[in-house]
């Protein structure tokens, strides 16, 4: 191990407590890293595509998650290996950036690592491999631009958008009602989209779930749904043309931040204090009433007395509303969040056409619907489903669909799915490889091979003969010079993805290639792993 000697032949220490650390270096380090990365990719491989299987994950506390969303699987897998953690990061960044394709990016990285291993065995230096990959990814990304199609949609013709979202949803458990969910996702995104600036703020779309009912009952609400009820059971359950005061101060006696003491030593003081207190509550309610509010939404709790006063003055109120929801309500109703009672004024009130309380099932669950808001820019997707896991999975699937719709609004370019884009890139990369002199040529060719891993996995998961199918499609692409041929996962009968209406976004695909290449480069560059050994 790392042992060095000075000029007098005495050893000196480079690594502290090195006996207790395990160390891998050189080719061994790369091999072990690659095998860890491959192991992670192997787990996700079977989840790819419309016929992909789900994974069941049991958390440390025993909760069960069933999903085939790559990011979620990796997030909850609780990995210990550092390289495996890098792969987790990889899918997470794809999730943050694009929101979809989280499984594909990991599978691709796994394939790249696998090919790199072969090249390492042949004695090619890891940095050369990394550089070759880099060049290849550039070729592939450029080629993607070439095969990409612009596609047009507007407010009247949403069909293309819906089709794209359906591609995303078809690999999830919710594919039973993918049509309606895709429509919901597209409408939600369009409702909040700023088509001028091509920007979509997904924060304005709230996804709420409630166990019970069927998946088909899932609905889009142009407004906000809050999982709260009126603070007093006898307040009105329905308010029309509500003027909403949005408060972040409690209906409670003030609690100054500075330390203070009120000393009571005489009867008079005791009595004045009491009067003060009563007046304080009265003032608070009166202020809300004075500015013309007909509904109070508060982030904090209410004192019993204040609660009754509110009820008494016929001012319905909702308490303990979370900060995020409060903001959404403020955006939707066009109101301002008011931190102090003194600052309440009429123009700061939010407006909503209808606020109502709705109850569900046989339990006492109630939710508050705020609809017909002044600013319709905030929407809620309300998911119903047979059990908690279905709802959670639907939330994740809808998130993916929303992201896809958003990406399309940002950038209207699409590529065709079903592995067709990967095959096209693979052909392009392999053709380009021969033009590069030097060792990199091999790495570029390996990259082309690795790209085939995705259509291969798709075919395998769909129960087709992977090699046969892939080679047939590839030959077809070259013969017809048409990059739209892919794997026919759903057994529709045609290989042309244009006819099957299977799209993916261009930026999503490009991001996948770039991110996977980056991570593989990073892993290849590691030649020394020092870790504390088992304790």
């Amino acid at each position: 191990m790392a042992l060095a000697f000075d000029e007098f032949g005495r050893p000196f220490i480079i690594l502290k407590e090195q006996e207790q650390k395990s160390r891998l270096r050189g080719l061994d380090a790369q091999k072990s890293n690659i095998s860890a990365g491959k192991a992670v990719a192997r787990i996700l491989r079977t989840s790819l595509g419309p016929k992909g299987m789900d994974k069941m994950l049991q958390s440390p506390d025993g909760d069960v998650t069933i999903t085939n969303d790559g990011a979620t699987i990796l997030e909850q897998m609780d990995v210990d290996n550092q390289i495996a953690k890098l792969m987790v990061e990889l899918s997470r960044s794809q999730d943050y950036e694009i929101g979809d394709g989280t499984t594909g990016v990991v599978v691709l990285a796994g394939a790249l690592l696998e090919k790199a291993e072969r090249l390492l065995e042949r004695g090619i230096h890891p940095i050369r491999i990394a550089e070759g990959y880099e060049m290849a990814s550039r070729i592939a990304v450029e080629h993607l631009e070439r095969v990409a199609n612009k596609f047009e949609f507007d407010d009247t013709n949403l069909e293309p958008l819906i089709q794209t979202c359906m591609t995303t949803l078809s690999s999830k458990i919710v594919n039973r009602c993918k049509r309606s969910l895709a429509e919901i996702a597209v409408k939600a995104v369009l409702a909040v989209a700023d088509l001028e600036r091509k920007d979509v703020n997904l924060d304005l779309i709230k996804v709420e779930g409630k166990v019970g009912g069927k998946l088909e009952d899932t609905e889009l609400i142009y407004g906000i749904v809050v999982d709260k009820d009126m603070s007093h059971p006898q307040m009105p359950k329905q308010i029309e043309d509500a003027k909403i005061a949005i408060l972040t101060c409690p209906f409670e006696p003030p609690k100054p931040k500075t330390k203070h003491k009120v000393d009571i030593d005489t009867v008079e003081k005791f009595q004045t204090l009491r009067l003060q207190e009563q007046k304080y509550f009265d003032d608070m309610v009166q202020k809300c009433k004075d500015v013309g509010a007909t509904l109070v939404i508060c982030q904090w709790g209410f004192d019993d007395e204040a609660n009754h006063l509110l009820m008494h003055r016929n001012l319905p109120a909702v308490r303990w509303v979370g900060g995020v929801e409060l903001e959404l309500i403020a955006i939707a109703t066009g109101g301002r969040i008011v931190p102090r009672f003194q600052e309440l004024s009429t123009e700061k009130l939010g407006k909503a056409g209808m606020v109502r309380e709705k109850s569900f099932g046989t339990t006492k669950d109630r939710m508050l619907y705020i609809e017909h808001c002044a600013n319709s820019r905030a929407v809620t997707i309300f998911i119903r489903g047979g059990n908690k896991m279905i709802i959670e999975e639907t939330k994740r699937s809808l998130h993916d669909a929303l992201c896809v719709a958003r990406n399309l609004i940002r950038n209207k370019s699409i590529v065709y799915g079903g592995g067709s884009a990967e095959i096209a890139c693979s052909i392009a990369v392999e053709a380009a490889a021969d033009r590069y002199p030097g060792v990199e040529q091999y790495a570029i060719r390996a990259f082309g091979d690795a790209l085939e891993a995705i259509p291969m996995a798709l075919a395998e998961n769909s129960g087709l003969q992977p090699i046969e199918t892939l080679s047939a499609v590839k030959a077809q692409q070259i013969k017809d010079n048409n990059p739209h041929f892919g794997i026919d996962c759903n057994d529709v009968g045609t290989n042309d993805m244009r006819e099957q209406n299977v799209f993916e976004t261009l930026i999503g695909k490009q991001q996948q290639l770039l991110l996977a290449t980056q991570v593989v480069k990073m892993i290849l560059k590691i030649d020394d792993v020092i870790s504390p050994s088992e304790y």
């Binding site: 789900d54 290996n81 000393d263 009491r274 007395e305 046989t362």
Partner: protein, 525 residues
């Protein structure tokens, strides 16, 4: 290969994972299987807590809720039974059994090398077809009040017949129907209060049209008030604390202490005076009432009830039409509750306060009597099931026959579909119909009947158009369900069908189970 997971975490793949989830799910289904149907048996559940408390039940949701399960697939089944309980209240056992049977059939198909996705798409088609078959056969008597009521009675009796209350099912069905009819279409079961008092027999249970509060009347206060004006409040009646933060009492002599004490008392007296000023003769508070104000109330001849729990308060406010008050400065605008008579009544050995002639007729109280706590608890659960089903039926008045009839109808339609469908899917569709047939089989088995004989007879019977035959467990033969008045709510059956299929689908889609290392907990024992 290096380990990727943390220590103690485990990973199961492919066949093994599928096996693990099938086995887990089927084990759960087998566990509750014997409780299905009118002759189903009960289970004893003993808690691991200090009291080693014992529950005797045959309610599927209750059994599954109290199990400690480690198998993730089994947890999915527990979850669907819980949702079934929350959503429709009954059919909690059937849903688990059906999901288990579906998985049992799926396992056989997987063993013959059929891809799970093919099975799923077959199941989906079958479930859709079964649902359509059911919705075509429903009877809706919403318009005919007389018939609707008899439907409700039949549903209640069918639900109760599988429970401990089956001996007196007619009595309880009547109780439940009366209670639900009073709700006038709302599904808010909160306004039906169930009070359990050990002693007497189950037959002594009764429905009271008024409201019963399980509290005692303060000493020295009137025991009977006619034409009562009730103020329902939620306010501190001990010492009224100063709520301003940081306030404290600091005095320098005993005399001062005495003064402040008097002031405090004065304050309380004032508050009581204000309350009395509302012109009431009954005061119900959610919080404690100390001796001093209680004495003041007694002096004024006002009935004061302390420490009514939150539900009690809300319900009382609801039935008497008063509002829950916390401030007392404006007596003229506070809405008071009214009732004709408040009196103390005795049930068994306990004294309860009975409010009769209340303003709003929606709420009512069911008093359950029975030999022991276990019996009462089980009776409450059974009655809850019946109430849930009834209140759902009031909203969605579509009704089906019971006794395995709906399953036979669905199985027949699904079989037809299988014959029409080309491809491997048809095998899955066939399997679905077999799973549906398992339910009447289990019902017959649990009753100790020759299930194979009965189910095949039933199947032959169902080939006729408009057949109403089902298994009559009491006489042990195939009988006319319409005649015997065995009914089930459409909503329950539909929820059973859909959730069971959904759960089976979910488990089938899994090809890998990753279990994280359990979180280390400090030993609290």
């Amino acid at each position: 290969i290096d380990r990727i997971f943390k220590d103690e975490a485990s990973e199961e793949k492919g066949e093994r994972a599928r096996m693990a989830s099938f086995v887990g799910a089927m084990a759960i289904a087998d566990l509750v299987k014997t409780t299905l149907g009118p002759k189903g048996m009960d289970k004893i559940l003993q808690s691991t807590g200090r009291g080693r408390e014992v529950t005797v039940t045959n309610d599927g949701a209750t059994i599954l809720k109290s199990l400690h399960i480690d198998n993730p697939a089994a947890k999915v089944l527990v979850d669907i039974s819980k949702v079934q309980d929350d959503e429709v209240g009954d059919g909690t056992t059937s849903v688990v059994v059906l999901a288990g049977e579906l998985l049992r059939e799926a396992e056989k198909l997987v063993a013959t090398k059929i891809h799970p996705m093919t099975i799923i798409s077959g199941f989906r088609m079958a479930a859709e077809c079964a649902r359509n078959a059911l919705s075509q056969k429903v009877v809706d008597n919403k318009t005919d009040a007389e018939k609707f009521r008899s439907d409700l009675m039949n549903i209640a009796m069918t639900t109760l017949s599988s429970k401990i209350l089956s001996q007196d099912k007619e009595h309880f069905a009547k109780l439940a129907v009366d209670a639900v009819m009073r709700l006038k279409g709302s599904t808010n079961l909160e306004s039906i209060q169930i009070i359990k008092k050990p002693g007497g027999s189950l037959m002594d249970s009764f429905l009271d049209e008024g409201f019963i509060l399980d509290k005692k009347i303060g000493i020295g206060q009137p025991k009977r008030i006619e034409n009562a004006k009730i103020l329902v409040a939620n306010t501190a009646m001990d010492t009224d604390k100063v709520k301003i933060y940081g306030a404290r009492v600091r005095v320098d002599s005993m005399a001062r202490v005495a003064q402040i004490e008097t002031a405090e008392k004065e304050k309380m007296r004032e508050k009581v005076q204000k309350i009395i000023g509302h012109g009431i003769n009954c005061f119900v508070n959610r919080q404690l009432i100390y001796n001093f104000p209680e004495e003041l109330f007694a002096d004024a001849g006002i009935l004061a009830i302390e420490h009514a729990d939150f539900d009690g308060i809300e319900r009382l406010a609801l039935v008497t039409g008063g509002e829950i008050a916390s401030t007392f400065d404006n007596p003229e605008s506070v809405k008071l509750g009214h009732c004709d008579l408040i009196e103390e009544i005795m049930i068994g050995e306990d004294k309860l306060i009975h409010f009769s002639g209340v303003a709003m007729g929606q709420a009512c109280t069911i008093v359950l009597r029975g030999a022991s706590h276990h019996v009462l608890d089980e009776a409450e659960r059974s009655l809850h099931d019946a109430l849930c089903v009834l209140s759902q039926t009031v909203n969605d008045s579509r009704v089906l026959l019971g006794g395995g009839w709906p399953e036979m109808v669905m199985a027949k339609e699904v079989d037809e579909l299988a014959k029409r469908t080309p491809g491997k899917k048809s095998l899955a569709i066939e399997a679905f119909s077999r799973a549906l047939l398992a339910i009447p089989t289990i019902i017959a088995d649990n009753a100790g009947l020759d299930s194979a004989e009965l189910v095949s007879q039933l199947r032959a019977e169902h080939q006729k158009e408009g057949c109403t035959a089902g298994i009559d467990v009491i006489s042990g033969s195939v009988g006319d369900m319409a005649e015997r008045g065995i009914c089930e709510a459409f909503k329950v059956k539909q929820a059973v069908l859909l959730s069971a299929t959904e759960a089976a689908e979910m488990i089938l889609r899994v090809d890998e189970i990753i279990t994280c290392a359990p979180r280390r907990r400090e030993d609290r024992m």
